[in-house]
Symmetry: C2
DNA sequence: GGGGAGAGATGCCGC
DNA sequence: GCGGCATTTCTCCCC
């Protein structure tokens, strides 16, 4: 036996699952997955997390992402068979199955965790378009965005409005480097607007901090424009406070 | 104090970091992030993981993905200030900063984890194109894929070859439902091949288990074709074994 | 629930 | 390093 025989892991596990606790298991195991795709992971040390919504994550000791996972509402059973422990996870609705065979269990811990808080995020694409709406001169002098009401009729467009010569302007924002796809997207939107409004002359602009050369070439080939704009950061003051705290 | 004052978490943390152990911390905390974007997460119970490569994950008790994270090679310091514990994580190279303030620490555990194993995955897009290469009749009678050498010259194309009438055929595989983007992609590839080979008549086919109506309309409008093909699963035998094991 | 598009996307492989 | 592209993508919004 490679784990403490005095502890009844199966019982402790079942209790934690039933109570909706979050479970952490560290152990040496092999992992088999079958569902949308299939995979096999040979034996090694891993960290397992089962959340209160019955999400399962299998993490290796390096890397950002779980090597295997099961979505919420999955059923999990821990059971012993001869000299090994097995975790068997099934999501019948999604037809997904995951089996873990432990040769060694380093530790297991369960804990009731309470949290319902949501993340407040700044600097997204929507924040960029909001910034342009509030500061239309970022695009060019004389640019006038359409009213919120008019705009929501064309919800798929990040920003649009009229320029100094009353030409309609369609703007696609990208928070990171604009690529090929961004140009395709802008092209589609301009086409739709031309058709929808019965216009022949509509300007298209990509607003992004950077753009790839390929994308820029295609953009110009299609008669569109590029404008360098960085996504906004609102929390500067809060950030400064944090930085001061960081001077340890 | 909301944690065991007899434990020197700061010392234990530093030792674990220096030894490259994986650390798990459960506690009630608030999280501030500043980098590519910015975010703030109000106080709640979370599970923190620091891996041996210095990846940090912050998990809430529900959901698949970490609510906050730092990539590998980040520096982490745990320190006490008045009635709170702080975890301060910095990645100077990426200009990313994350601060966590704990009001309560449920537990902390560190463990040496050893693993270098890689996942063996089946059912990906590449597996689909491999399957078509081995069984060209899945596309149609008389379809002849190009040789491996010729194919690698156009690495961006999943499969291509000649049909019964010696017309060039470009195939784009999608392991899940094909969408608008898949059609755009196929269009780009066919254009490139036409230009590259100086041909005017090149067939384009999307091979996928499903396709959206919009995508199908656009596909036909452009004179391309759709072929229903499911991604392969190789491990059927292994799978059956697992299912038998699952009859508990 | 399907479709379309964003993401602090991530990760892989190419040049 | 950038660029192109897949991902058991995941997530959100809207129809």
């Amino acid at each position: 036996m490679f784990w403490d025989v005095n502890l009844d892991y199966e019982k402790e596990f079942k209790l934690a699952i039933d109570q909706g606790h979050t479970i952490v298991i560290s152990g040496c195991c092999e992992v088999t997955y079958n569902g949308r795709a299939q995979s096999y992971l040979p034996e090694g040390d891993r960290l397992l997390i089962i959340k209160s919504d019955k999400t399962l994550l299998v993490h290796q000791p390096e890397g950002n992402n779980p090597i295997n996972y099961m979505k919420g509402n999955t059923s999990h059973k821990l059971l012993r068979d001869k000299d090994a422990l097995y975790l068997k996870s099934q999501n019948l609705a999604l037809k997904e199955y995951l089996d873990i065979k432990f040769s060694r269990l380093h530790f297991m811990k369960s804990q009731r965790l309470e949290d319902g808080k949501k993340l407040v995020l700044n600097g997204s694409e929507k924040d960029m378009s909001d910034m342009i709406y509030s500061n239309p001169e970022l695009i060019e002098k004389g640019f006038r965005p359409l009213s919120r009401e008019e705009h929501t009729k064309f919800g798929f467009i990040d920003v649009f409005g009229y320029d100094n010569n009353n030409r309609l302007v369609v703007i696609e924002c990208k928070r990171y480097q604009a690529d090929f796809n961004a140009v395709q997207q802008l092209t589609r939107y301009v086409k739709k607007i031309k058709k929808n409004k019965g216009l022949s002359n509509v300007r298209g602009i990509i607003a992004a901090p950077k753009i790839s050369q390929n994308a820029l070439d295609l953009l110009r080939e299609r008669g569109f424009e590029y404008k360098t704009i960085k996504p906004p950061k609102y929390l500067e003051r809060y950030d400064n406070g944090q930085k001061r705290l960081g001077e340890y």
